[in-house]
């Protein structure tokens, strides 16, 4: 060894490293102790819950069936509050009408709604989420709504997306037209999750919305808003009165066009829109042509039969099949066209026409 200091340095480094490892290990062992205690507590809690849950479920079933005995809940409300809440929430998706009211009334009687209101103001986002989700469910019952007061409205401005969504769902149950308009505006914002969740809840208000906010959004001139609105209308799948779909059937944004063609399958169309549909059967975009064929078929537009026959003769197999199916939906002229084309020299045309004719006759 030519470096006399090397052993000293090596020893110093070794002791330092060992000390560092030791300190880390001791700290981790302390944390392990904490984790073990927590794991033990959780296991005990789970075992206790597993013991009481069947009795709570049975009692709830009886209570919802019209029974008056809620003593088991009152008896265990202090010791098994979480289990009672979870048992009640287990039924939220399966009951409606008076049974749902009874469930909410039980939650109110047991002081759970008040507890959810308190937790709804908590700084812990997980607590707030749970509380608002429960309150959204309980808001179907008017006395619960009164207890919740403005909490749901305040929660519409929460930082957390899920809290906001739960609050929206609760607010929608209040049936206030102003709030419904406000939530529709929220639904057409870019966030897809918000739109998906609210679309389902807004479906009940489809007609009222179509008369006002939907029309405003479609006429706003903003492609993004129009696209979101069409998204919602398509998801509702309801025959909603739309003034004029032509503008969207011929829009420069392909996504908007696609949605408009889907919507065209089940809304009443004016003359202009019907003309636009027929024109689209010769669109340069094959996808659009396919959607137009489907919409024309659903609308049973017999004036488009010559165009559909042309599609059947000229398009590839996929679109020829769609055109044939559309013709099959329009007896008797459509069927006559299919009969003629089923003997066409083009094998694709003959195959698609033959298949559609056979299917149409079988279904008839």
């Amino acid at each position: 060894m030519t470096l006399p200091a090397a052993p000293v340095v090596a020893k110093a480094l070794l002791y330092a490293a060992a000390a560092l490892v030791g300190v880390h290990l001791v700290f981790l062992l302390l944390l392990l102790l904490v984790a073990m205690l927590r794991a033990g507590t959780m296991r005990r809690r789970r075992a206790a819950a597993a013991a009481i849950r069947p009795a709570l479920h049975a009692a709830l079933v009886e209570f919802l069936a019209g029974g008056q005995d809620d003593s088991i809940f009152r008896q265990h409300i202090r010791t098994h509050r979480t289990d009672i809440v979870e048992s009640i929430l287990l039924f939220q998706g399966t009951v409606g009408g008076s049974a749902r009211d009874r469930l909410c009334a039980l939650a109110l009687d047991l002081g759970l709604v008040q507890q959810w209101c308190e937790e709804g103001r908590s700084r812990d986002v997980i607590r707030r989420r749970g509380a608002l989700s429960n309150l959204a469910f309980a808001s179907a019952y008017e006395p619960c709504r009164r207890v919740a007061g403005d909490l749901l409205l305040d929660a519409l401005k929460d930082d957390d997306e899920e809290v906001r969504l739960s609050a929206c769902r609760g607010v929608l149950l209040s049936e206030s037209s102003e709030q419904i308009k406000r939530l529709f505006e929220l639904a057409i914002q870019p966030n897809l999750l918000t739109r998906i969740v609210l679309t389902e809840d807004l479906r009940r208000h489809a007609l009222a919305l179509a008369a006002g906010p939907v029309r405003v959004a479609l006429r706003s001139g903003e492609a993004r808003r129009a696209r979101a609105t069409l998204d919602i209308l398509v998801a509702w799948e309801r025959a909603i009165p739309i003034d004029d779909l032509r503008e969207f059937l011929e829009h420069r944004d392909r996504d908007i066009r696609v949605l408009a063609f889907r919507l065209a399958s089940f809304v009443t169309l004016n003359f202009e829109s019907r003309l636009a549909l027929v024109r689209s059967l010769t669109d340069t975009d094959a996808g659009i042509r396919g959607l137009a064929i489907v919409a024309v078929g659903r609308q049973k537009m017999t004036e488009a039969i010559p165009e559909l026959a042309r599609c059947l003769r000229c398009e590839g197999l996929q679109q020829a099949r769609q055109a044939a199916a559309a013709l099959g939906d329009m007896p008797p002229q459509g069927w006559r066209t299919l009969e003629e084309l089923s003997t066409n020299s083009n094998p694709v045309t003959a195959l698609a026409a033959g298949e559609a004719l056979a299917r149409a006759r079988m279904e008839a």
Binding site: M1, T2, L3, A6, P7, A10, K11, L13, L14, A17, A18, V21, H24, L25, L28, L29, L31, L32, V34, A35, M36, L37, R38, A39, G40, M42, R43, R46, G93, V125, I126, R129, S133, E161, E162, L165, S166, P190, N191, L192, L193, R195, I196, V197, T199, E200, D231, I232, V234, A235, E237, G316, L317, Q318
Partner: protein
């Protein structure tokens, strides 16, 4: 010759320092993963699952599966994919040049009939022989193509997919039927930016020492390569993961050039080219997992497979992505090599008296000692991030298993990693420029 002890001492010192740096970086990644996991698990909820299941607004998912053969296992996997709970989904089964007998097996199994259809040609693939649909009420599209690489089969599946999101499942993954519903959530929350989502969780430990060591490995993998990498937006798929990728994003990087790992590397490269606008999200909930290793043979197979998936892609990284995944390349390729060299030099130096025993011991402390700390930290941090329901006794057993893991298994694993990293086959490089096509 006189200078040999000095040179050896210096080399061992340098190696010990470098290994200490690796340990420090690994521990930091573990902590980062813990905080990310806490955040991710706290923000995850399944409250709107039933709404997502029913809503027509939720984008459809085409699950692409390139069947390696027509075995019972492959057919069972397709059945499981068909049983997924999702509103709009299809399974695109790609048969990569099957023999006539194999095709007949598939036709019989799923009552397939041939259908003429036009398959998009967004990605270049070998010729498609035909498409088949099932006469059963299942959403299955079978694409029969000329025999080619797995990447070619996956590209054919993407071409045939009708939905805007592609679902991919790792070959080893065991998944829950709701995994599509869980994975789609981050995409819906930020549709414009989120191009891919990866979901995986560690499996429960198998009994025995090998099982415990396998469990510690999977915890480290989950905390570092999943959670921490997700926090840095550098997520790459890990074994046992289920994934969603936007079809447009796959097409924009020119499709698959090898496996799923290479696709994600290409997505990251494209993201860099676009100024980091994309996000690859991680779902830490138990949607999918790799079956726990129960034997030493399982451990060897898992390490080898993981390394074979990762190494070819990492070895070919360009300067930009190379910087991004420098840490991972070091951890998978350089660290095992340097550590093994350090052991050999320290042992040889100590035996011959050329290296001071304290220095040799330092190498052991920075590798084995620090390794034990890292393993115990993985067990503890996972439990603190979210209680797994493991009994206290099992937690202690896992922590105790960290000792044999680092005193014996670690050294053998280093050899497996070296062999896997430097012995893995080459994959085709991404053509320059293909990563920045319009999305």
């Amino acid at each position: 010759m006189e200078e040999l002890p000095l040179a050896l001492t210096l080399v061992v010192v340098v190696l010990a320092i470098v290994l200490a740096v690796f340990v420090r970086a690994g521990f930091d990644a573990l902590l980062k993963g813990y905080f990310e996991l806490r955040r991710s698990l706290r923000s995850t909820s399944y409250d709107f699952g039933s709404v997502l299941l029913k809503s027509p607004i939720v984008p459809g998912v085409s699950v692409v599966f390139a069947a390696p053969d027509a075995s019972v296992e492959s057919r069972a996997r397709v059945r499981r994919l068909l049983d997924l709970h999702f509103g709009k989904h299809e399974v695109v089964l790609v048969l990569n040049g099957p023999a006539q007998e194999e095709r007949i097996v598939w036709v019989r199994e799923f009552h397939l009939y041939r259908q003429e259809r036009v398959v998009a040609e967004d990605l270049p693939t070998l010729a498609i022989r035909g498409c088949y649909l099932s006469s059963d009420p299942i959403h299955l599209l079978v694409v029969d193509k000329e025999a080619g690489e797995v990447a070619d089969a996956l590209n054919a599946g993407v071409n045939a997919a009708q939905y805007p999101v592609i679902g991919l499942v790792d070959g080893e993954a065991e998944f829950i039927p709701e995994f599509l519903l869980r994975l789609i959530r981050p995409m819906l929350g930020d549709w414009d930016r989120t191009v891919a989502v990866c979901g995986v969780a560690p499996a429960k430990a198998a009994p025995g020492l090998a099982g415990s060591i396998g469990a510690i490995e999977s915890l480290r993998l989950w905390l570092v390569r999943c959670a921490a990498f997700s926090a840095w937006n550098q997520l790459l798929p890990v074994p046992g993961a289920c994934m969603l990728v936007k079809r447009e994003a796959v097409c924009s990087v020119g499709g698959f050039r090898a496996g799923i790992t290479e696709l994600f590397l290409d997505l990251h490269a494209a993201n860099r080219a676009r100024g980091s606008q994309w996000r690859i999200a991680f779902v830490a909930s138990p949607v999918s997992f790799r079956p726990a290793a129960a034997t030493w043979a399982d451990l060897h197979r898992q390490v080898r497979r993981d390394q074979r998936q990762l190494a070819p892609g990492l070895r070919q990284l360009g300067p930009g992505e190379g910087r991004t995944f420098f840490g991972l390349s070091c951890a998978r390729g350089l660290r095992p090599l340097l550590e093994t060299v350090a052991y050999v030099l320290a042992a040889a130096g100590w035996i011959t008296g050329m290296v001071h025993p304290a220095l040799a011991a330092l190498v052991l402390v920075t590798t084995i000692g620090a390794g034990i700390v890292t393993s115990v930290a993985a067990v503890v941090l996972r439990e603190l991030a979210e209680p797994s329901g493991t009994s206290p006794a099992s937690l202690v057993a896992l922590c105790v298993a960290a000792i044999p893991e680092n005193l014996g298994y670690r050294q053998v694993r280093n050899l497996w990693l070296i062999a896997g990293f430097f012995g893995s086959p080459k994959v085709p490089k991404r053509k320059s420029g293909s990563a920045v096509t319009k999305l």
